[in-house]
């Protein structure tokens, strides 16, 4: 083997090693830094009182906030996105499809901070007036904003998923005398199901991990409301808590460690979602059609 070949091989091996190690290092650092909190607070981390001066670090309010915001945004974005993807993939004439797809990709690229700006200037005031609230910075506002934010991504992914199903299946189904909606319901959707579920999981991960837009509109109070179904009150998500508080916590303190623990929980959750989505669903090898 010549010298350049040896260097070359070394280079590719090293870069692969680095690329693969990054995620292990990130997780490792979070585990190490959250160790103090796990040891000292233990199960108390899963209570709902977060009060640094009293050394109480319960992350439940933030977990609750993240869950509720995610449920709201997906409850809106998934049905709307599916119907729209069916429209763009199955009904829209091909020559418009390219434009619509480009527009969607452009929208999917809008940075989240700009969604935050729109949320503060428009959405939160609308929510305030529509429900006659004291403040438009609520869990609902966060959920709505994330729904809008994740829509373009979800539609593009689902449009591809449906469009990838070969024409022949549709033609056969139609040949059997099925109506359009039956073709989609009984042939296209079942065949595209792995991609569809995968894309939904990726969307879920994206919503859970989103920070800037939520942080600006959610009100940032670490409280679970009296009724857990009341979404018209301010709240806090894990991401917004991290975004607001991590810089002011002294490294090495229990406070810092508890923040990192929360980050670790978030990471593990979103990471496993993504890996499951990529390995079992959103994966060409798992497709149900040739």
């Amino acid at each position: 083997m010549s010298a350049s070949a040896r260097i070359g091989k070394g280079y590719v091996v090293a870069s692969t090693f680095i690329s693969a190690a990054v995620i292990v290092v990130i997780t490792g650092f979070l585990v190490i830094n959250s160790w103090d909190a796990i040891r000292q607070s233990g199960l108390e981390l899963f209570t709902s009182e977060w009060n640094p001066p009293k050394q109480k670090f319960g992350i439940l309010a933030m977990v609750y906030g993240s869950v509720v915001v995610t449920v709201i945004s997906l409850a809106l974005a998934l049905p709307l996105g599916l119907a729209t993807a069916i429209f763009t993939s199955e009904m829209l004439p091909a020559r418009f499809r390219l434009y619509v797809k480009s527009l969607l990709e452009l929208l999917a690229g809008i940075p989240s901070i700009i969604y935050g700006l729109i949320g503060i200037v428009f959405l939160s005031t609308w929510v305030e007036h529509a429900f006659d609230l004291q403040s438009g910075r609520t869990v609902l506002t966060g959920g709505l904003l994330l729904a809008v934010m994740v829509l373009p991504t979800i539609i593009t992914l689902w449009d591809d998923a449906l469009h990838n199903v070969p024409r022949k299946y549709r033609e056969t189904a139609r040949g059997l005398g099925l109506y359009n909606f039956e073709v989609i319901r009984d042939a296209v959707l079942p065949l595209a199901r792995t991609d569809v579920i995968g894309a939904a999981l990726l969307g879920l991960g994206r919503v859970l991990g989103e920070t800037m837009a939520v942080m600006l509109v959610i009100g940032s109070i670490d409280k679970i409301p009296g009724s857990v179904f009341n979404v018209l009150v301010p709240g806090q998500t894990m991401t917004s808590k991290l975004g607001r508080e991590i810089a002011e916590t002294a490294v090495g303190s229990l406070h810092f460690s508890a923040m990192i623990f929360m980050g670790l929980i978030l990471l593990l959750f979103v990471l496993s979602l993504t890996i499951v989505a990529l390995t079992y669903f959103y994966n060409p090898e798992q497709r149900l059609y040739e």
Binding site: S2, S4, G8, K9, Y11, V12, V13, S15, T16, I18, S19, A20, V22, I23, I26, L30, N33, L80, L82, A83, T84, I86, F87, M91, L103, L104, L106, L107, G109, I110, P111, S112, I113, I114, L117, I120, V121, V148, I155, Y179, N180, F181, E182, G205, G209, E210, T211, M212, L216, L242, G243, I246, A247, V251, L266, V270, L271, T274, I275, L278
Partner: protein
């Protein structure tokens, strides 16, 4: 219910949904463009901001954002290319392939704020770099790594086996085949991926806001370990004073510029795909 009616209902539902989505998304575009254009002029683009962003322009924010992503590209590209080559040409064991894919693409599943937190712990605290744009670039490079690796891998892996075989038959060693045959062919896809990654990196706020940017007093940094100001963090600061009309107008202007940068990077990505593909075929 009869099927024809159901079908009509179904069509109606999808059209309505598409209409709602269109309306929402077009509203967003219209707002940003209309409000942004009002703020945008030559002076806005080429002067420094004054009065905490409420007056003046966004010159240093644009410079800072570009600096962050250009270095992210410089760091990310060689790493991604090497990884893609190894994955495509050397890694033949199925289990290892899968493990490698999970580890690298798993990075896509790391929430952006976690990258910021990791940067804060690892670089700023453990390595003691202080708040530095270079650390921001490293973190952004890590963030876009999976996008670039995926694109590079696909373009290298999809080169027909016959190319490799004919090159070997001519007496080229494995590495020579990679350098002389596969790289020129595969580079287009990698660059496309790089630009798409940059389009994402340039708009990110959460990964850089604790570790790479400062509020004011930043010009062109004099060394690797100084903060910059960037467009997303500038918009964040301006959003906090959304009640000040002048600041708000500048926020819209900065948003429009940021979206334009995102669009430019995406377009460059698509352009490089077409341009470089034709080159390599020649």
């Amino acid at each position: 219910m009869n099927r024809s009616l159901l079908n009509k209902l179904f069509v109606f539902t999808t059209v309505t949904a598409a209409g709602i989505c269109c309306a929402v998304l077009l509203f967003m575009m219209a707002v940003i463009t209309a409000k942004g254009l009002r703020a945008l002029d030559f002076e806005f683009l080429f002067t420094a901001s004054r009065d905490f962003g409420a007056a003046g322009g966004i010159f240093y924010q644009i410079v800072g954002s570009l600096l962050l992503v250009v270095f992210a590209a410089l760091i990310c590209f060689p790493l991604a290319l090497g990884t893609a080559i190894f994955k495509s040409e050397y890694l033949k064991n199925g289990h290892m392939q899968r493990l490698c894919a999970v580890l690298v693409y798993g990075l896509n599943g790391v929430p952006s704020v976690i990258f910021g937190v990791f940067g804060l712990i690892f670089f700023v605290n453990v390595l003691g770099t202080r708040i530095s744009w270079f650390v921001g670039s490293i973190i952004l490079a890590i963030m876009i790594l999976p996008t670039v690796v995926l694109a590079a891998f696909h373009s290298i892996n999809s080169i027909p086996q016959s190319y490799r075989e004919s090159a070997s038959a001519l007496g080229l060693g494995k590495w020579q085949v990679i350098v002389k045959v596969l790289l020129p062919q595969g580079i287009a896809g990698s660059i496309t991926g790089l630009f798409l990654g940059l389009a994402r990196a340039v708009g990110e706020t959460a990964p850089i806001m604790f570790i790479a940017t400062a509020f004011s007093g930043v010009g062109i940094p004099g060394s690797f370990f100084e903060p910059v100001t960037a467009l997303p963090t500038h918009i964040l600061a301006l959003t906090h004073q959304a009640i000040n009309q002048q600041a708000l107008q500048n926020a819209w202007g900065a948003s429009l510029v940021l979206i334009s940068l995102v669009t430019i990077f995406s377009t460059l990505g698509l352009w490089s795909r077409m341009k470089l593909k034709t080159m390599s075929l020649r």
